[in-house]
Amino acid sequence: MARHSSAYQRGAASPPWGRRSAAPRGPVDGAAPAGPAAPAALDPATPAAPSYPGAAPPPPGPLDAWGMPGANGAAPAGVPGVPGAVDPVGAPGQVGDGGPAPGSAVVIQGTGVSKRFVSYHNRATSLKERFVRRGGPAGDDFWALRDVDVTIGRGQTVGLAGANGSGKSTLLKVLAGILRPTSGEVSVQGRIASLLELGAGFNGELSGRDNVYLNASLLGLSKREIDRLFDSIVDFSELRHKIDDDVKHYSSGQYVRLGFAVAVHVDPDVLLVDEVLAVGDEAFQRKCLAKIAEFRAQGRTILFVTHSLDLIENMCDRILVLESGSLIYDGNPAVGTKLLRQKLGSLPAEGPVSWEYATVRPQSVAFSPDPGGLPMVQYDPGERLTVSVELDVTEGAPEQIYLHTYIVGQSEVPIWMMETPPGGLAVGPGRHIVDFSVPHLPELLGAFAVKVHVSDATTGAPVTTRRFEELFGVSGPQADGLLKVDYEARLRG
C-alpha cells in the first residue's frame, strides 16, 4: 500500500527519465545527463551500451548526448561524484541545474515541488468544524517549499543547507516520501533509510534484539536478511553485552548507537541524515562519519541536512542551498557554502569569496578613451581614459553594491582609487558595465593594472575582489621612472 499513492506509484512504475525528457526545462536539459540517451544506455535490454562513463573514456555515439562535464559550458554546475570530471564548476552560481552525474540512474526526482503548511487555526481539526465551516479562507498559509526542482542521481552525496526555517528538513521529508508535496511530483527509487531521528521506532519495553528486528522490518527487510545482518549490527553498535536487555535501560547514547547501526545496515540505496550527527560522543561521531564516507565510496546516495557547512564541504559533492523555501543554489559545495556564509553574515570574518563564486562577479575590464569607445591600451599623459568593469550579477546578490576600483602599478602599489557614488549602485541579476572615466591622465608613466573590490552598499560587507591581468600603459617622451617631472640638467663648475 503505497502511501503517496499517485506520485510514488507512478514513479516506481515508469522510469523517471521518461517523464523528464518529456518535460522540457530550458536549454540546459538538452545537454543534461537525463537526456534521451540515458534510458537506452541503462536499459538492461541493450547491453551493448556501457553505462560507466565516469571511469571509462566515453565511446562515440550515444554518450555524446550526456554532455561530458567541462567540455560543455551548459553542463550542470555541480557534477559531483564523477571521477574524472574535469571542471566541476562549469558555470558557477548557476541555479537549479545541478543534475545527476552523467549516465547515473536517477534515485530521487522532484519536479516543481511545493509544500504549503496550513496554519493550525485555519484547519478543521474536529468533525464538527469540518461540517460547520467547509472550505474557509486559506489565510495564513505558509509555503515551506516553492517550486523546487531536484534530481538526485545514484551515488551523489548532497548537502541541504540554509538558514533556520528555510525548508531544508521539509524538503528532506518530502523527498523521503514522509510528507506529500502540495504540488509537484516526487519519485523515489530504492530503499530509503532515514536517520531523521535515530531509534524512532524503538519500543522501550522490548529487548535490543527485538527492536533491531522490528526496526529493520519496518525499513523493508525480510527476516532472512535481518538474520544475516544481525551480528554485524550488534558489532557496529558495540552493544553485544546489552543486546538482550530492554531498550528502556539503555543510555541515550546506546540508544542512538543501536538506531544508527540498524539504519546503516539495512543496505539503503538512499540515506537521509538530518542533523543527527550532533548526538553521541566524539568517538561515535567519528564512526558515523567513517560509515558515511564508506557509503560514499560504495556509490550510495546520501542526503545531508546540517548546519555544519564544514561538514558539507568535507563530505558532499553537491550542495542545495535553500532560502525561504526556494532553491537558490545547486552545485559545487565550495561555492554554495560561501554563498550561504555570505547570506548568513558569517562571511566577513572569513574574508570575501573568490570572485568566481561570488554573487557579483567582475567579469572583465576594458580600457578606452570614451565610454563604449574602441578599446585602447596605450595612452599619453593628459588623455582621457575610461575603465569599464563588466559585472555579472546573479540571484542572491546584494541589491545595492559598492565598487572600489584601484589602479595598481608595479609591486601591486595602488596608485589611485575610484569608487562608485555614495549609496552604491542598484543592480539586478544580469550583466552590467560600470565606467570610471578619468578626463586627464596624470603624468605618471608605466603599465598599470586594475583591481576591483565589490561590497554590499547597505552593510559594507565585502562580496569579492578581483585583480585583472589586463594592463594599460601611459607613456611619455622621457626614458625611465614613474613621474614626468619638469627639470633642468646643467653642468656646474
Partner: protein, 313 residues
C-alpha cells in the same frame, strides 16, 4: 555483512566497461532500476512479515513481566462466562438454555471486533513519532491492531470449544463450517472499519470519542445477551433492517455454528434465528457486500489521508 561483502570499489576506480555490464561496474552498490523500484515498493507495501512482527511485538509488550501472561487473556472471557451465566440465567432468568455458551459464542467475535476497531483508531496517533520520521507502509498500524485482536480471538475460541466439550455439549457438526464465511465477513468488516477510523482520527480527533460511544450502543444492536427471536417478534417483517448490521449477522451465524440449545428450549421464543443454513448464508452474502463496500471506502480514505499523516500529527 552482505552489502559490505559485495566488495564495493571506490567510486574512482576505473573499470573497463564490458558489454555485459548493465549497472555501473560489478562491485558498485548500484543496481538496475527494476531492483531499485522493487526495494522502494518493499518500503511502501504492507507485507505479511512486517504485520506478523508488529503483532508479535504487541503481544510481547502486553504480556511482558506477567507470570501468567497469555493466560489472563483466556481467563478473562471465562470469568465473564461465569458471571453472566449467574446474572442472566439464575438471577434474571432470561429463559435461554445454557446461557453462558450462548453468550460467549456471540460475545467473543464482538469483542474481537470492537477491540480491533478501538485500538486501530488510536494506532496512527500513538505511533506519531514513527510516522513522522520513517518511511514505512502506514496501513500496518491499524492492521496490526486487527491482527492482535484476531490472535486473542482465536485462542479464546479454542478455549470456548474446550469448555463446551468438557461440559459434554454438542459441538462438532456441519454447522461448524458456518464459521468460515462468518469469519471472513467479520475480518473484512473489521479491517474496513479499522482503516477508516484510524485515518479519520488523525485529523479529526473526535473520532475516537465518537467511536467509543458508538461501540457502546452498537453492542446492544447485536443479539448477544438477548435472543434473536426477541427481535423477530418485535420487528416482524422489518427484521432485515436489523440485519443490515454486518456484525449482527456474524453474531447470529456464530451462535448457529457453536451454540447447541440442547434438547428442550424452555422459552417461547426460539433462541436461534433459523434452524437451517440458507438463512445465514443469504444474510452473510449481504453483509459481505456491505463489508466490501466499506472496505473500499476505508482503503480509499486511508490512502487519501495517509500522505498528510506526518503533517497532521
Amino acid at each position: 555483512m552482505s552489502h559490505l561483502a559485495d566488495a564495493p570499489l571506490p567510486a574512482g576506480t576505473p573499470t573497463a566497461p564490458s558489454p555485459q555490464q548493465v549497472g555501473p561496474g560489478p562491485g558498485q552498490h548500484a543496481m538496475d532500476p527494476s531492483r531499485l523500484a522493487r526495494r522502494s515498493r518493499a518500503q511502501t507495501r504492507v507485507r505479511w512479515e512486517l504485520l506478523r512482527n508488529l503483532v508479535r511485538k504487541d503481544l510481547k509488550v502486553k504480556y511482558k513481566g506477567s507470570t501468567l501472561g497469555f493466560a489472563w487473556s483466556l481467563a478473562n472471557p471465562m470469568l465473564l462466562l461465569v458471571v453472566y451465566t449467574f446474572v442472566f440465567q439464575i438471577v434474571l432468568k432470561s429463559g435461554i438454555h445454557r446461557f453462558g455458551i450462548y453468550l460467549m459464542s456471540g460475545l467473543l467475535v464482538w469483542n474481537a471486533f470492537s477491540g480491533s476497531v478501538s485500538s486501530a483508531c488510536g494506532s496512527v496517533v500513538a505511533n506519531a513519532n514513527l510516522v513522522k520520521k520513517v518511511r514505512f507502509p502506514l496501513a500496518v498500524l491499524p492492521l496490526s491492531a486487527v491482527g492482535f485482536a484476531a490472535v486473542h480471538f482465536l485462542l479464546q475460541l479454542l478455549v470456548l470449544f474446550v469448555v463446551i466439550l468438557i461440559l459434554g455439549y454438542n459441538l462438532f457438526g456441519a454447522d461448524l463450517l458456518l464459521l468460515v464465511p462468518a469469519g471472513a465477513v467479520a475480518i473484512t468488516f473489521t479491517v474496513a472499519l479499522s482503516l477508516l477510523v484510524s485515518a479519520l482520527n488523525v485529523r479529526y480527533r473526535d473520532t475516537s470519542h465518537l467511536l467509543d460511544v458508538a461501540l457502546l450502543a452498537w453492542f446492544w444492536l447485536n443479539p448477544m445477551v438477548y435472543a434473536f427471536g426477541l427481535i423477530q417478534t418485535q420487528l416482524h417483517e422489518w427484521t432485515w433492517v436489523y440485519l443490515l448490521n454486518p456484525m449482527a449477522v456474524v453474531v447470529i451465524t456464530f451462535q448457529r455454528a457453536i451454540y447447541d440449545p440442547g434438547g428442550g428450549s424452555t422459552g417461547s421464543t426460539p433462541v436461534l434465528a433459523d434452524p437451517g443454513y440458507t438463512f445465514y448464508l443469504e444474510h452473510l452474502a449481504v453483509a459481505g457486500v456491505i463489508s466490501l463496500v466499506l472496505l473500499w471506502v476505508g482503503l480509499h480514505v486511508f490512502r487519501t489521508m495517509q500522505a498528510d499523516f506526518a503533517e497532521d500529527l
